[in-house]
């Protein structure tokens, strides 16, 4: 019991150290504006991939519509900050809640489907959300929503990311999270163990969608403008790649996956002609040698080094 608390404190300390180092590098202008922007994108992608991992990796429900929920959160947040001058935090929370509610509404009927069928249904729903937004003139339609205040900075992204990580980590390591994992492992057995499988599938879907909405709010306030083409199914696909690359069912893996994918595509920005080729080769190579993803089911806290560090502090 005390060891769980110590565990959390240690992770929190680790997070703050990472933040301090990166913030220091930004203040010292060692990290230039190009990489500063990429740091924001990495943080947002971490939120996206960890929340998608809750649905795909932990609960085993194959969703391909995550960018749709991000879009909902993004548009709700920008309308609130730009048109109603709401505080940023309130806009983020509202975006998350609306996305979660939509996840709940969509999840209830679609999560009866399994495997490929669910993937296709969520793919379609993600596209529907985007096309609906594209046809709402109030938010600028296909041309996009302009004049968004630039609120998102590294501090915001980092701490929202930290909150997301803790919420999902704590959820997964509870009886409720175990219920989700049981559904992934064997739905029939899970039901026979007294788990309301529909409830937990929808819950995981709604929580995942909610955090995607928050990530959307952060993403939207990075730039002066957002438009629906940022939230196509290719974007959903990209988040899925991060999750699979890092390891389905590992939070550490999702962080690593988001980092690697974003970093590689940013580092190759100067060679656009090779970018997709190298990106594809990296993926093929990784899937060949680590089909379970970089971390498999492992977490950073499972490694010996971390355990020893924790032990040494007793």
């Amino acid at each position: 019991m005390n060891s769980i608390r110590k565990h959390d404190l240690l992770l929190l300390a680790l997070g703050i150290v990472v933040f301090a180092v990166l913030q220091g590098l930004i203040s010292a202008r060692i990290i230039g504006s190009f990489w500063q922007l990429n740091l924001l994108i990495i943080g947002i992608n971490v939120i996206m991939s960890v929340s998608l991992n809750l649905i795909n990796g932990y609960t085993g429900q194959f969703s391909l519509g995550h960018a749709g929920f991000m879009a909902v959160g993004a548009y709700v947040a920008v309308v609130l900050t730009t048109n109603f001058h709401a505080p940023f935090i309130a806009a983020l929370v509202a975006g998350g809640l609306v996305a979660a509610f939509l996840g709940f509404l969509i999840g209830l009927p679609t999560l009866r489907l399994r495997g490929d069928y669910l993937a296709i249904a969520t793919l379609g729903l993600g596209e529907i959300i985007r096309i609906v937004i594209m046809n709402i003139d109030y938010v600028g339609g296909a041309a996009g929503f302009k004049g968004i205040p630039h609120y998102t900075n590294f501090t915001w992204v980092f701490f929202v990311m930290l909150v997301t990580l803790f919420v999902i980590k704590n959820f997964v390591n509870s009886s409720h999270g175990r219920a989700c994992i049981a559904i992934r492992e064997n739905e029939i057995a899970a039901e026979a163990m007294g788990i309301n499988t529909t409830r937990y599938k929808v819950m995981a879907f709604a929580i995942g969608a909610g955090f995607a909405g928050v990530a959307g709010g952060l993403f939207a306030h990075c730039f002066y403008i957002i438009n629906p083409s940022s939230f196509t199914f290719m974007a959903s696909f990209n988040y899925l790649i991060m999750v699979v690359l890092g390891g389905l069912g590992s939070i550490t893996g999702s962080i690593a996956g988001a980092f690697v994918v974003t970093f590689v595509s940013a580092a190759l920005a100067s060679w656009p002609e090779f970018r997709m080729i190298i990106y594809a080769l990296v993926l093929i190579f990784l899937m060949f040698y680590r089909p379970q993803g970089l971390f498999g089911y492992m977490e950073i806290t499972d490694f010996k080094l971390f355990q020893r560090f924790k032990g040494g502090r007793k």
Partner: protein, 255 residues
Amino acid sequence: MAELLKAENVSEVFGGLKAVSDFDFFINKGELVGLIGPNGAGKTTAFNLITGVYQPTTGTIEFDGKSIVGLKPYQITQRGIARTFQNIRLFSELSVLDNVKIAFHSHVKYSVAEAVLRLGRYFSEEKDTEEKSMELLKIFKLDGKAHEMAKNLPYGAQRRLEIARALAAQPKLLLLDEPAAGMNPQETQELMEMIRWIRKEFGLTVLLIEHDMSLVMGICERIYVLEYGMIIAKGTPAEIKSNPEVIRAYLGGEA
């Protein structure tokens, strides 16, 4: 004696096939009852009807005096019926300990918010779940393998883990679907003693499907024999052994 489970006139029709018909039976509190019959006789269908996997086409099923027809499998488990599976259905990529912890699910009271914020009951209930799970594993001699992946256990141990997991759901009635399948005679013998022991220790009522006659005849107090979806005989092991219908069903030939 009080009836814990009572099925009356239950039948299950799949298309044109009557998998189970006019199924009448009861189990008293504390009894150990066997359900036997040739392959395809409808034994597992009967289990699936009791646990809510299938809904009966006709008839009533009562548990603890209340109808359980129309309830979902998880609701029936929460009412107090737990089962094992003929074809093992463990959470194979998870640890042995997690397999058992998952089954405590419906007895854990803390909310999602309490889990996320790590408040109040979270710590005490998690500790409780872990301790109780380890106790169960100890009973089934699996405590040494608590942190191994379930799929890496030998076959017999996987069967034992299924029973341990079912018990973690804290049932009043335990349904065992061919628990001795694939076990050697010595393992079957051990299993028999274990079933006897847990029944006494946990105050359970047990319904057992089994092919292994030595096991069924050895521990069951009453036996129902199914053939082609119908009960062709019922009674004590001694009565069943000498019943001509049963001999015909099992050995073939004319009665």
